[in-house]
Symmetry: C2
Subunit: 341 residues, 2 copies
């Protein structure tokens, strides 16, 4: 029998395989593997713990990612996971493994970005580890946050007829990545060429310096809204919709026409001959929030301009994308398929 | 001006450089960088957070470290950091980055060790991240624990005339590493040779499967002892003594004759022509605890056979090793030096 390959299993398959063998010993461990953050009952509140690993050559390419941006992003993506639980990040630890090709200035630049993010999100850098590495740079960030027990939002919990909402706009980070990859190829072909990023600052900025939406969490608190379910959009909207719908056992219907997409994202998509909907559904790294809101909170949501309703929750477990033409497509892990008539 | 090199700065230099630029925004962040774990006030108790990064080729050599042992050790060393704060570990997150040379069986073996450690220490695996890597295996573990506020032990806090104690025995893990390295060289020279580990099971076991001393923490609780300062012995006794003495602003005097060393460690040291004291002082990875205890607790300590008094705290800030000959040596970061008369 051939050994099963990791690549056949995929990341979610591997996570499920790990999760299956895990036993929990403490009743305070409210939520383990399988949400944006682990949830620990500390008596008064819930403590949230989330961790992300960023590996050079896998998650980032130092050919076009400045180290300060990388440091900022490493913090922001963990902040985003805490926000996705409707929590507020408070502390982080940062561990780095670095090969000898990096000098002290590089480390300083990286930590400049980390410290800038800490200041922006009011997060305390309280620990970490440093190591050499045989090749490249590896960053492991763990964020610790908290949430009042009655305010927590899990991936599960969406109710029938709830309103599906997203924050900000989508697809821009993927558009930015495509532009950066294109300019890298141009540069590799001709190092004299200057990158053409003039009218791409928004999409490139969204790729290089994403933000975790703690601002939205504060807005939700202020308006007295607790999302019935929530997740951050790190892997593309399609994948996140499937996570929430699977966790709640209901279906999501989403209207393309309602999905917020910036003009520069649309322009870039047409320039690159990519469908903007494909960029939104299959792309990733927007780090916006996807949430469901009870109908009763619909009026309150209107007061938060950064939140856009894009659909609703149905009893039929099919996840459906309603195209501008009125056609209905099936949302899949890889994006969406036209439904054959 | 030449760029300053990372290697000139060293790990502690780098940590200090990072620490200097850190601002803390939350009064709940009681202790940040600079102890075995970060300390967060959660209202009722302190939450402890510790993180360690294990990099293939830097921290472990898969030529002689079985993956299950590696998984166990990755958890144990973080458990050890929580124990060093006099706390009890409750949850961990485990992130791994793996190159394509590892199959699914390798991952299963690694998690077998992780799960065995979780069961032994009653720690819940609540999250993590998985990624591919361009080369080798990287494991990042974060442990979350808790401690009653009046039971916490920091690195600082040693008082004048306090008793210096260690748990278990020292030097064995380093002896085990030397044996494993020797057998690896033998194997590389002649792959037909079987490793000679028969009478080395104790020292090799101490290297491959160290334990975090949560059992000692429970004993301390049971006897009503709170160490005035504590640290785990990961880098060799000399380095840890300097950490505690610097943090408290006092000196430590330690008697070689009192340091607990197992017979097999002594035998191995003579076989390898290494001084056993050098192995204890400069070696590492014993993951025992070094602590100071108030004189008032001396009688109570006697009831815990796993704890051995090895010296006392002095006003004179010099850290002194009293040799068997009665000679006094200076304890330094790299071990100890004979004091010139």
């Amino acid at each position: 029998m051939e050994e099963q390959k990791l690549s056949d299993l995929g990341e979610f398959g591997l996570i499920n395989r790990i999760k299956e063998k895990v036993s929990l010993y403490h009743s305070e461990s409210i939520k383990g593997i399988g949400d944006d953050a682990a949830v620990i009952d500390n008596g008064q509140k819930y403590t949230l713990v989330s961790t992300d690993l960023l590996v050079e050559g896998v998650h980032f390419d130092l050919a076009y990612v400045p180290l300060a941006h990388l440091g900022y992003k490493a913090v922001a993506v963990n902040v985003s996971d805490i926000a996705a639980m409707n929590g507020i990040p408070k502390q982080i630890t940062v561990s780095i493994a670095i090969s000898s090709r990096f000098g002290l200035e590089a480390i300083d630049e990286l930590y400049e970005g980390i410290n800038a993010a800490c200041e922006n999100y009011k997060v305390d850098l309280v620990g970490g580890d440093t190591s050499s590495s045989r090749s490249g740079l590896i960053i492991s960030v763990t964020a610790v946050g908290e949430v009042e027990k009655d305010k927590i939002a899990y991936r599960h919990g969406a109710g029938l007829n709830d309103i599906v909402c997203v924050t900000g706009d989508l697809g821009a980070a993927y558009a930015g990545l495509q532009i950066l990859e294109r300019e890298k190829q141009v540069f590799l072909a001709n190092p004299e060429m200057q990158p053409e990023l003039d009218n791409k600052s928004y999409v490139v900025g969204r790729q290089l310096k994403p933000e975790g939406r703690t601002d939205i969490v504060h807005e939700l608190y202020a308006k007295g809204i607790v999302p019935t379910s929530m997740i951050d959009i790190s892997d593309g909207l399609a994948s996140e919709i499937l996570h929430l719908s699977t966790a709640s056992g209901l279906g999501f219907t989403v209207f393309v026409d309602n999905i917020p997409i910036e003009n520069q994202t649309l322009e870039t998509s047409s320039e690159l001959n990519l469908s903007p909907i494909t960029m939104v559904m299959n792309g990733g790294e927007d780090y916006e929030l996807l949430m469901t809101i009870s109908q009763a909170d619909f009026e309150k949501i209107k007061g938060i301009p950064e939140i856009t309703p894009i659909g609703f929750v149905t009893e039929d477990k099919n996840n459906v994308l309603v195209l501008n033409s009125g056609e209905r497509a099936q949302i899949t892990a890889q994006g969406w398929n036209h439904i054959k008539p």
